[in-house]
């Protein structure tokens, strides 16, 4: 870990990777937190977008 943090470019790349992981985790948690009806509405909204 300290090897990554000693390099500023590697730190930025690691920050971007962590952002991507966070986006996937956010979507997964939102799906888990939604009830069946909410999920159906959300899926329809996503399709409309």
């Amino acid at each position: 870990m300290s090897k990554i943090l000693e390099s500023l470019p590697m730190t930025i790349v690691a920050g971007i990777v962590l952002t991507i992981i966070m986006v996937f985790a956010t979507n997964k948690l939102e799906d888990m937190n939604q009830s069946g009806v909410e999920k159906a509405v959300s899926d329809i909204q996503k399709k409309m977008n």
């Binding site: 300290s2 990554i4 943090l5 000693e6 500023l8 730190t11 930025i12 690691a14 920050g15 971007i16 962590l18 952002t19 966070m22 986006v23 985790a25 956010t26 979507n27 948690l29 939102e30 937190n33 977008n49």
Partner: protein
């Protein structure tokens, strides 16, 4: 009136956040990479004048950001949902911000006080403290990328 208070707290949260993350990025993108290029006789200008002043605004910017952020989340009624990740869109950003602020006050600032000679310490302790402060400052720079993504995307969903 309530809308104005929410706006004012959000404005103060953003102002404090810009102060905090702006100085964090100044340290990591400008000051730390430039130090090896500065002649030894000029280094005290950074270590004795600029860095202590920057650290003052840095740590109080962090405190203000967290304080106004938590008030804002409470006023908007999502503080509990966000911190328990029932609202992960803003919750991840809040947790990253809280971890970063903890690092500022309880790791970086104590280590910088030793490294910059603000408090008495053994000569051997200074390089170790300087390295500890640098690594935690870099960790905060790393976390600032997803933290800012979360803060912005919760307000303006990117549609991912």
């Amino acid at each position: 009136m309530e809308d104005f208070i929410v706006f004012l707290v959000r404005y103060l949260h953003v102002l404090s956040g810009v102060m905090w993350i702006g100085i964090l990025w100044y340290f990591n993108f400008v000051q730390i990479p430039s130090m090896p290029k500065i002649p030894d006789e000029q280094k005290p200008a950074i270590s004795k004048v600029i860095a202590p002043e920057a650290l003052f605004w840095f740590r109080w910017g962090a405190a203000g950001t967290v304080l106004f952020g938590l008030i804002l989340a409470h006023l908007n009624g999502y503080a509990h949902e966000a911190l328990t990740l029932q609202r992960p869109d803003i919750g991840f950003g809040m947790w990253l911000g809280l971890i970063m602020a903890f690092n500022v006050w309880f790791v970086i600032w104590p280590a910088q006080k030793i490294a910059l000679g603000i408090v008495e310490a053994d000569a051997d302790a200074k390089p170790a403290a300087g390295r500890r402060a640098m690594l935690f400052s870099r960790a905060n720079t790393l976390m600032s990328i997803p933290m800012l993504f979360s803060m912005i995307s919760a307000q303006n969903p990117p549609g991912l």
